[in-house]
Symmetry: C2
Subunit: 220 residues, 2 copies
C-alpha cells in the first residue's frame, strides 16, 4: 500500500495545507499516532473538519529508547488493521520531517510499498508568527535544539542569532538560564485552545518552547 | 489598514494553507514583493489559483544593506497604492518568520495600523519531505545557516545532527567542503517546476540549499 505521511500543522485546522485537506478528505483510512490521549485528541481536533473515512489510533511509546521488537509488533498490527485499504494517510502534528514518529514506524511496516511525505507548518514558525516576530532576517542563523540538549545549547549561545528550544517537557527553565544576551519568549500550543505567549515560563510540557533572539547590544 | 503577512509555502499552490487560500481569495488587494522578475513570477504562480483581487508588485532591493531612506520611499509609495483598501495580503514564499522581506517593509508603512502573520510551509522541510528524509528524530538538534555564514557553519559542524545551508547563491560549494562527517543532499526549488534533488551541487542560486545529516559512524 501507499502511505502519505502528512504534516497537519501546529493545531489550527485552517493551518492545514490545501493538499493535506484534500488527502484527509479522500482517504478511506487515517492513522493517528499518539503517545497520550491528549495528543491524540489534539491531532483529531485538527483533522476533524476534513476526515470522512475511518480513523485508526496507534499508541506509540514515548521513551526515546524503544525496543526494536516492540515497534515491529506495533507496525505489524497496524498493517493488519489497514489490510483492506490501498492507501492510508498517517497524520503528524507540525511537519513530518521534524520530530515526527512516522519514520520510526513506517519503515517497519511490511505492508508499505510506497511512502510520500507532505510537509506542514512547524510549531516554531507558528509561534513566531503569533508573536509577530522574525526568526531570521538577512544572514541570521537559527538553531533548533530540544530542551534536554544543553550540550548543544551551550555551544549555540553567542553563535546563532536565534535559538529555538523545543520539546519543553525536559528542562525548559534550565535552558532559559543559559540564554544570556538573548531576548526570550515563552510560547506554548500556538494556534491551539490553550495558547500561551509571554516572557515567563508558565508550564514545561512537550508543546512548550522558548524562542530566543540575540540582543543587538550583546557581545558576539 | 490591516495587513496579513501570509506565508504561501515552497512553491506548490497545494502547499498553501487553507487559511492563506481563504485570505488570498477574499483579499481586495494582494502585495507581491520581489527582488527579480523570476521571484515575482514564482510567487504569482503559487497564488494564481486563489487571488481574485488586484495584484500590486513591489520591487525590493536585494542587497543586505539598504538605505533607510530607500525603504521608507518604497513603504510610502506602497501605502499610496493601497489607499482604497482596508485590508491587504502581503505574500511571502515559504514562511514569513524565516528570511522574509515583510519585516523590513511593513513596519515602515505609515498606513499599517495592524499586522497579522500567517505561517506557511518553509522550503527546508519541504525539501526534506521531497527527499523522504527526517531532519530530526528524538533529541536531534538542527542548525539553519545561510551559505555565506561560514563562521557559524564551522561551529555547528560536529555539534548539530542536521545542518541546513540556505540561500545557496553565496558559496554553497565552499560550505559543502566544511561538512565533514555528514551525508549531504543538494536540493533546489522543491515542489516547483525546476525541482532538483541529488548528491551533487547543480546550481548555486537563492533557491538552492544543502541538507546535511551527521553520519552514524562520524566522530562526535
Amino acid at each position: 500500500m501507499k502511505v502519505y505521511a502528512v504534516g497537519v500543522g501546529p493545531g489550527d485546522p485552517e493551518l492545514v495545507t490545501v493538499k493535506a485537506a484534500k488527502l484527509l478528505s479522500e482517504a478511506g483510512v487515517v492513522v493517528v499516532p499518539f503517545s497520550s490521549n491528549k495528543v491524540a485528541s489534539l491531532a483529531e481536533r485538527v483533522i476533524s473538519p476534513y476526515v470522512r473515512g475511518k480513523i485508526v489510533r496507534v499508541k506509540l511509546p514515548m521513551r526515546r529508547e524503544v525496543e526494536e521488537e516492540e515497534l515491529n509488533t506495533i507496525a505489524n498490527s497496524l498493517c493488519s488493521e489497514l489490510k483492506d485499504f490501498k492507501e492510508a494517510v498517517y497524520v503528524t502534528l507540525g511537519d513530518p520531517t521534524l520530530y515526527s514518529t512516522v519514520f520510526r514506524l513506517i519503515d517497519r511496516m511490511p505492508c508499505v510499498e510506497e511512502k510520500e511525505l507532505v510537509p506542514g507548518v512547524t510549531s516554531f514558525t507558528a509561534c513566531a508568527s503569533r508573536a509577530s516576530m522574525s526568526l531570521a532576517l538577512g544572514g541570521d542563523a537559527v538553531a533548533v535544539v530540544p530542551a534536554d540538549r544543553r550540550d548543544v545549547l551551550s555551544k549555540a549561545v553567542g553563535v546563532f542569532e536565534t535559538i529555538v528550544i523545543m520539546k519543553g517537557s525536559m528542562g525548559l527553565r534550565e535552558s532559559m538560564r543559559l540564554l544570556e544576551g538573548y531576548d526570550v519568549i515563552y510560547a506554548r500550543r500556538c494556534f491551539m485552545d490553550e495558547e500561551t505567549l509571554g516572557k515567563e515560563i508558565v508550564e514545561e510540557d512537550y508543546f512548550s518552547m522558548l524562542i530566543a533572539r540575540v540582543r543587538k547590544d550583546a557581545k558576539r
